[in-house]
Amino acid sequence: MNNIDLSEKLLKKCMKAGADAAEVFIQTSRNLSIGILRSEVETIEEASSRGVGFRVFTDGKMGFSHCNDFNSKALEDTIDRAVSFARLSSPDDSNVLTGDRGVTQVADLYDPELGAVSMDTKIGMVLELEKAAMRDPGVTKSSGAGYGENESEIFIANSNGILKSFKSSLCSLRVSVVAEKGDQKNTGGEYSTRVFFHDLPDVEKIAAGASGKAVKLLDPVMIKTQKAAVIIDPDVARSLLGGIITAVNGERVLQGASFLRDHMNRQFASSLLSITDDGTMPRSPGSSPFDGEGVPTARNIIAERGILRNFIYDTRAAGRAGVTSTGNAIRRGYSSLPDIGTHRIYLDPGDHSRDEIIASTAKGLLVLELTGYGIDPVSGNFSGGASGLWIEKGEIVHPVRGVTIAGRGFDILNALDMMGNDLDMDKSFASPTFRIAEMQIGGK
């Protein structure tokens, strides 16, 4: 039985089992991953799988179950579990299934040739990637290189009469190397993800990213505890700003668990900051014609010149807030309930080149590595571990490792005083280089 017929059949079974409303979510997928270490194949992993998740409602109460066993007895048992679990839940008028029949037209989400590219071609590419990343004389060891691909097909059917499906693909390359000098060790890694195999960037470019990061931070000098400018590399923008995404989660806002809960249509950040979440970009990882519960995807402006413009919602949170879903129900697979998340985040680029930003900084830290949890979405505080390059009088003077940077979220966001023009769309949180005029730096 094909998955469309199966979806309809399972939907009927849910209703027969006692559901007033139901949703069937089937996902099939195929994965391949290749790992290379020191010019030898280290791992090859391959698998196909299929699973189904059931969301059922009785008297406004929701239950969910999933299984990957498609014999009819197992499927019926799983549906019964969802129905009996629903009875335990609290009724929730907002928790309804979508009736939106629309789909957003998004071109090129599936590469039909991905699976046809030979294993030897893929292995060869990863071997090349590792070799290229080892070419820098400062690089001493490889931590491994890899290739991964995934094809997936999703079917959503619900009792409002919706039946939607779409196919997608992803492929990625990654490499990580070590630079050693005396007792010093530093690592550098780079990755790239595309929908189409032939869109993957040249291995030399990925390799240069990894080896550059590994050697750049050798021979660091510790700096004093002080306040200074902090320049954020596109690579670490998510590590600082990721908390904003959680803070605009419509459900967290309704619960009061967001530092941005009272800031709708108010200036909360520098006018240089504009943030968009886009689920409609063609040929882009993260794009899809509809979200994890079948609502058409959209392009949502979250921040416009520092003014908060939108929270993001799924159907349930939108119902509670009295607005409509923004198409941000994200599903991590058939075994997960839809939850609020983003598709593809990007910042609007500014006017300055990265070199201009560095040249105009009297004293500051260009942050290349940033650890920690980012701006806390509840309290709005930020503290992280940083490494990078120290700048004095507009020039890079030496690497810095093992310092901290910290501040309050609103202070940091309002102190953003230079936005770069070097937007790097290769990252899942795409950002240009930008500068925070002043932050507390913890050193010796």
Binding site: E42, I44, E46, N68, L88, S89, S90, S143, S379, G385
Partner: protein, 510 residues
């Protein structure tokens, strides 16, 4: 208000011992879910007499090694899981899941081939074996030994099996926690309560002739509460988890879990800015052990050592830490969240001393890294599910108890930070550079814990931190966590109260 203690460390040793013996018998005599697994439905139609006939596994292993290779194994898994979520005193919904499948692995030299299937039939297993064997093309071969059943000691006891517990009782635990949080203080605005349980059944068979089966129950109860006084907010968290039956809630009441979280949420509403820079840190006993889990534990996992990139590469037998520092990974602590009886490759769990009185004594291995390094298998080959290759992972990892009185450790620290609990953190296993975020922390002024301070990051390198631990308390305690390393594993981290001289604290003021 005092923190109510509930960790397993407080259950008397003897009781643990009794529970273990009883549990061992229980597990051996009643693997209920495996009976389901071996007799379960539709797959049987495809392959005639399916069952978990050992001859089928022999044929799969033989197929896996048909192209060459040194070792092959088959891992079958059936996982039944439940999750119930309560937010703002409402049950958001219940989640029930069944996940079953099998993976076939072939090791040839340093290479690993892996394939999995979510249909457990001989046909699909043979197909997976064929895919996994691709990697061994042209390599030397080995002749597999036919599998026969082996036995392993069990460290997991079950008094009230999870499948006998009604969902109403699960919900009752959550309601009690929710009520206790609300009753604690009017500034507790919301509780997010998550109840998780699962029973994971495993069959492991390999080309060395091993055949093992068992099932592990796991409970995980998480209470998050938000304190909000109108000007400041803090989300606090408390977690409890054991490989155990539902009797866990008799040892640890839901109210205790909720009150601990509430106490933190209220205490931190008055938090001020943390100072920045290098200072002394006293870490309270318990989950703070996650710092050494990350900073020292991960670099001691043997896969990075085998790659010759790990921070401890070439340091075996050398003094790497202060003499007061001993660190242990022990997969046999009765019912602990990290306890696994045997790892997902079938190696018995054991107590592995990693660093003893400052000297590096051991790495944590799986089958592949043990072979690569010519070391013993330590029972640390773990996997998230049948969809993943086993890799070296920690179980219950802790700093061994020392001699110092925790009160003296604080009193002898003139100035610094007292860390009562950490959120979590990460490490780069190659460089050993780690970072942590404090969840609940206070200033130390003249040997006394004073003002609460907001979520500061702690950073440092593993080598520095273990050389700079200069006081180890006599109050070992543990906390449960989830460890991520490309795949997730349930673990426990523990430590007595310790003092670390000179950690960089990421505060927002000078």
């Amino acid at each position: 208000m005092e923190i109510e203690k509930y960790s397993a460390g407080n259950i008397p040793r003897r009781r643990f011992f009794e529970m273990s013996i009883r549990g061992g018998l229980l597990i051996a005599s009643a693997p209920a879910l495996l009976t389901q697994l071996t007799s379960c439905g539709g797959s049987a139609k495809d392959s005639g007499e399916f069952g978990m006939d050992k001859a089928v596994l022999d044929r799969v292993i033989a197929r896996a090694l048909a192209n060459g290779g040194d070792f092959a194994d088959v891992y079958l898994e059936n996982r039944v899981s439940r999750q119930i979520i309560m937010e703002e005193s409402q049950f958001r919904g219940g989640l029930y899941g069944i996940s079953r499948g099998a993976g076939v692995r072939v090791i040839s030299g340093n290479k690993t081939g892996y394939a999995y299937t979510d249909e457990i039939t001989e046909k699909k297993l043979l197909h997976a074996a064929g895919v996994a064997s691709f990697i061994a093309r042209g390599g030397a071969g080995t002749t597999p030994v036919n599998v026969s059943a082996a036995s392993r000691e069990s460290w997991v006891t079950v008094e009230v099996p999870l499948h006998e517990v009604s969902d109403d009782r699960r919900i009752e635990m959550m309601k009690r926690a929710d009520q206790a949080a609300k009753d604690y203080d009017p500034r507790i605005r919301m509780a997010l309560i998550e109840y998780n349980d699962e029973v994971r059944s495993r069959i492991i068979a390999n080309s060395e002739g091993l055949f093992l089966e068992d099932e592990l129950p796991l409970l995980f109860f998480v209470v998050q509460v938000m304190g909000d006084d109108g000007t400041s907010r803090h989300m606090a968290r408390e977690r409890v988890s054991f490989h155990s039956g539902f009797e866990m809630f008799e040892n640890v009441s839901p109210e205790t879990v909720a009150r601990n979280a509430s106490r933190e949420a209220i205490a931190m509403l008055d938090a001020g800015d943390a100072p920045a820079g290098i200072m002394d840190v006293v870490m309270q006993n318990g989950w703070g052990g996650v710092l050494v889990h990350e900073a020292v534990g991960h670099p001691l996992e043997a896969d990075n050592i085998a790659k010759e990139t790990g921070a401890f590469t070439g340091k075996m037998g050398q003094k790497v830490a202060n003499e007061c520092f001993t660190m242990i990974d022990d997969g046999t602590l009765p019912n602990f969240r990290g306890t696994i009886n045997f790892d997902d490759e079938g190696t018995p769990a054991q107590r592995n001393v990693l660093i003893e009185n400052g000297v590096l004594k051991g790495f944590m291995t799986d089958i592949l890294s043990a072979k690569q390094l010519s070391m013993k298998r330590t029972g640390n080959g773990r996997r998230e599910s049948f969809r993943y290759i086993p890799i070296p992972r920690m179980t219950n990892t802790f700093i061994a108890e020392g001699r110092d009185d925790p009160g003296d450790i604080l009193a002898s620290t003139k100035k610094g930070i007292y860390v009562q609990s950490l959120s979590g953190g990460s490490v780069n296993p190659v460089t050993g550079v780690f970072n942590f975020t404090c969840r609940e922390a206070y200033l130390i002024e003249n040997g006394k814990k004073t003002k609460p301070i907001r979520g500061a990051t702690l950073i440092g390198s593993c080598m520095d931190v273990i050389s700079n631990i200069d006081a180890v308390g006599n109050d070992l305690d543990f906390g449960p966590g989830i460890c991520g390393k490309g795949q997730s594993a349930e673990v426990t981290a523990g430590q007595p109260t310790v003092r670390i001289r000179g950690i960089n604290v990421g505060g927002s003021r000078a």
